[in-house]
Amino acid sequence: MSYVPNTPEEQQAMLEHMGLSSIEDLLQPVPENIRLQQPLNLPSALTEPDLKRLLTRMAQKNKSLDTTISFLGAGTYDHTIPSVVSHLQRRSEFVTSYTPYQPEVSQGMLQAIYEFQTMVSQITGMDIANASLYDGSTAVVEAALMALGPGGKGEIVISAGVDPQYRRVLHTYAFARGFSVKEVPTVNGVTSLPDLDAAVGPATAAVIIQQPNFFGCVEDVQAIEPLAHKGKTLFVTAITEPASLGILAPPGEYNVDLAVGELMSFGNPMSYGAPALGFIASKQKFMRLLPGRLVGQTIEEGGQKQTGYVLTLQTREQHIRRDRATSNICTNQSLLAVGATIFLATLGKQGFRELAELCLQKAHYAFRQITALPGFEAAFKGPFFDEFVIKTPVAASKLQQHFERANIIGGYPLGESYPGMDDHMLFCVTEVRTKEDIDYLVKVLQEVQA
């Protein structure tokens, strides 16, 4: 199947129009000795129906969340996607456009991103936000790089309560850019305050925590804030489960400098975890340091001075700053930002709070039912939002087999990221799980126990 419209005859006519005889004439700049001498070793072309059959079968080899019940969260959350979101987000004028370099014919995308920036500010309680970043993990890195500044040297203090994947990514960048990373342990599921206090020093550029943290526990951000703000340190909070912002104090209410995180679960399909939707929001004063794109409101140069939207503050961007760059992001996640924007518009002021309450109530119901089972204990005592850790009577690997037989996908086995927690599982219960689903999980767990 080819998407080249011109036929061989038309192409020949074009060549002749230029006084050439064959396409070969145009390839002469490529030296013979590096020309491929045979076709690429790839499977032959498929027609559209054959390709659909192939991929449909491949997709059917995956157990989709439509055909199973899942209690996985751990950084990627299953929230409802209203029908209007995908209908609108998939409008081809959005999908097939490039970065809006020509604002006069790109007002739609620009305005949608401006609305996204506003909504991110609203839900995080921060002053401003950018147009998106790759994902939550790289958003944490961007915050660290912002804090470190153009030199890129210094120290980042990060809680072990931050998503383990995020911390791995930070370490990778630290290796390349040459800064250091200090991890603060958790105690009883939350960041250890004495250890945090001890970790922050003169070289510390930023303190990064996650709220709720990877264990689902709600950090005592009021107590953390003064410790994180010792000296010139920036206080960074990562949000992986944005539904929590409907009920928990947002970063803007506890003096956070930079709020980062992940918004994919708002309006975008999970898609094996990506494309994701990283965000960064900040206090006003960091505006000119923000990485990535920004859309600003302005007016026409002439005419009626109508309101319009443009990419702005582009001098911050990598293609100008080169050696002083603190970020190299260019392509971002605009289309997902459009999805999140429409999602939040459908939720609205009331709905955003209700979403949080549904998650909170359902997770706590599940928590009560599970911890009532003999052998299943709450791992931590503190408050949580829609995720919680259960100490299980058998190893998580053993549990998985039960789940498989019961045709459900259980929680996340924490042993994979936290040594010594082989008998701990992180369960997530969002608003998409019904009471029926939860009761079924409890029944399955009961059988494990028996």
Binding site: N62, S70, Q297, G308
Partner: protein
């Protein structure tokens, strides 16, 4: 015309019903969460009904130009047609609704696709192994440089810290070098060939050989010119102990014709949203897989897909020398499904036909425009070329921006302007292979009319666009008094 912001629509209490009802016994919130941790002010999100949401974002879409709307000759961006089947395949529930932490046994189809796509991209690039983890081209660049850094360190050559980058390179290259803890050094362009100035390269190598970590090139480069010295460049840089990084933004010119691996590159990134037809979504998401030669494989980020003797797929941890992860989860899977679909739909002959046709279309446009516009380097180009508005500027003060804006009035998007930086009044034009001759001719017609207008009535060009929903916008005001979010009381002017 102006479309109000969503925040200016709706009314208190209006809503779109999105959520299910609570079906479990509820506890008072104060029993579950300490008061000090609760949100004080509700997020002031819009309060709008479903029909308002639908009309608002439908209107916004109608105020946006995409490839489905018309010709999009944006140089170095490869705005080719985005096949609809790609969207449908990525939307299959078995691909769209799977969690990244599901057990491998429950995602065998996804793993197979990833495993095979890696193989295809390795073959296309002529590299040994590929990681699909990077999220975009720039992310791929950075990842590639990290691998190079880890490689040099493993050989005790950690002191190498310079990256050679041509003065016509994509802007991300030097930024990526900086982010990798490197220092960028500019290489001049040869004024006659448009390729790397070989003398300058030799001089730099002679001066800095022990400090050189890598050279970053795209070939064909941003002038659309294939550097015939590439093999010699590779030899020289390798001899100096440096690694060769291939910026794949221009890979749409080489599919099935030549391969970065065969040219001598050590690392290659792909922009799947360019070369492999996945839509750009108004700025993203993209995907920037990188392919590497064997000596760099141990440093790749993990995990990597693997297949056992029973034909089962699984995620294998990267080895001890791995740089770690460059993002959470396994890469932009939704984009990968689309790219996989594209490669399978084209096959080997189809991919070569893609590049040949892209090259033909670009040369055809260059040929037709040469009568009215300067061509920066009037040589046989590959998938793109750089014309300029220098003649128009000299004659009547019409700039590349003016030409770009005027093109919008013809229902076409504009070329990339003022890039590459080394060409004055540059207009970088990449038609791609998916345009018909009629469309190319219509573009030529518009460009000729604009050239004529520049002579006869330059004001019409300088004040363009005239038919768009809004006129030229005040960029200076936007930067001087940045307004990055709506606040209550703020109103749009009509």
């Amino acid at each position: 015309s102006v479309e109000k912001l969503i925040f200016e629509k709706g009314a208190p209490g209006r809503r779109t019903a999105t959520l299910s009802a609570l079906d479990v016994p509820a506890e008072p919130v104060e029993n579950l969460l300490p008061g000090a941790l609760l949100r004080e002010q509700p997020a002031p999100l819009p309060e709008v009904s479903e029909i308002e949401v639908v009309r608002h974002y439908t209107h916004l879409s109608q105020r946006n130009f995409g490839v489905d709307t018309g010709f999009y000759p944006l140089g170095s961006c490869t705005m080719k047609y985005n096949p609809k089947i790609n969207e449908d395949m990525a939307g299959l529930p078995g691909f769209a609704h799977i969690h990244p932490l599901q057990p491998d046994t429950t995602v065998q189809g996804a793993l197979q696709l990833i495993y095979e796509l890696e193989q295809y991209l390795a073959e296309i690039s002529g590299m040994n192994r590929v990681t699909l983890q990077p999220s975009a081209g720039a992310h791929g660049e950075l990842t590639g440089l990290m691998l190079i850094k880890a490689y040099h360190q493993s050989r005790g050559e950690g002191e190498r810290h310079l990256v050679l980058i041509p003065d016509n390179a994509h802007g991300t290259n030097p930024a990526s070098a900086t982010l990798a803890g490197y220092k960028a050094v500019e290489i001049k362009t040869d004024a006659s060939t448009g390729g790397v100035d070989m003398d300058h390269l030799r001089t730099l190598l002679a001066s800095y050989a022990p400090q050189i970590a890598a050279i970053m090139l795209t070939n064909p480069n941003t002038l659309g010119l294939f550097d015939a010295n590439i093999v010699e460049i590779a030899r020289l840089v390798h001899e100096a102990g440096g690694q060769l990084y291939y910026d794949g933004a221009n890979a749409n010119a080489v599919l099935g014709i030549t391969r970065p691996g065969d040219m001598g590159f050590d690392v290659v990134h792909f922009n799947l949203h360019k070369t492999c037809s996945t839509p750009h979504g108004g700025g993203g998401p993209g995907a920037g897989p990188i392919g590497v030669n064997a000596h760099l494989v141990p440093f790749l980020p993990g995990p990597l897909p693997a297949r056992n003797s029973k034909g089962e797929y699984y995620w294998a941890d990267a080895g001890p020398q791995s740089i770690g992860k460059v993002r959470a989860n396994k890469g932009n899977f939704g984009v990968l499904v689309r790219a996989y679909t594209y490669i399978r739909s084209n096959g080997p002959d189809g991919l070569r036909h893609v590049s040949e046709s892209a090259i033909l279309n670009a040369n055809y446009l260059k040929h037709e425009l040469a009568s009215d516009y300067e061509i920066a380097y009037p040589l046989t180009c590959q998938h793109e070329f750089v014309a300029t508005a220098q003649r128009q500027k000299d004659e009547s003060g019409v700039t590349a921006t003016d030409v770009a804006k005027r093109l919008l009035d013809f229902g076409m998007y504009a070329p990339t302007v003022y890039f590459p930086l080394i060409v004055h009044e540059a207009m970088m034009i990449e038609p791609t292979e998916t345009e018909t001759r009629e469309t190319l001719d219509a573009f030529v017609g518009a460009m000729r009319q604009i050239a004529e207008e520049s002579r006869s009535d330059p004001e019409v060009v300088k004040t363009a666009p005239h038919t768009t929903v809004i006129g030229r916008l005040d960029q200076a005001l936007a930067a001087r008094k940045p307004n990055l979010r709506w606040t209550p009381g703020q109103e749009t002017t009509h």
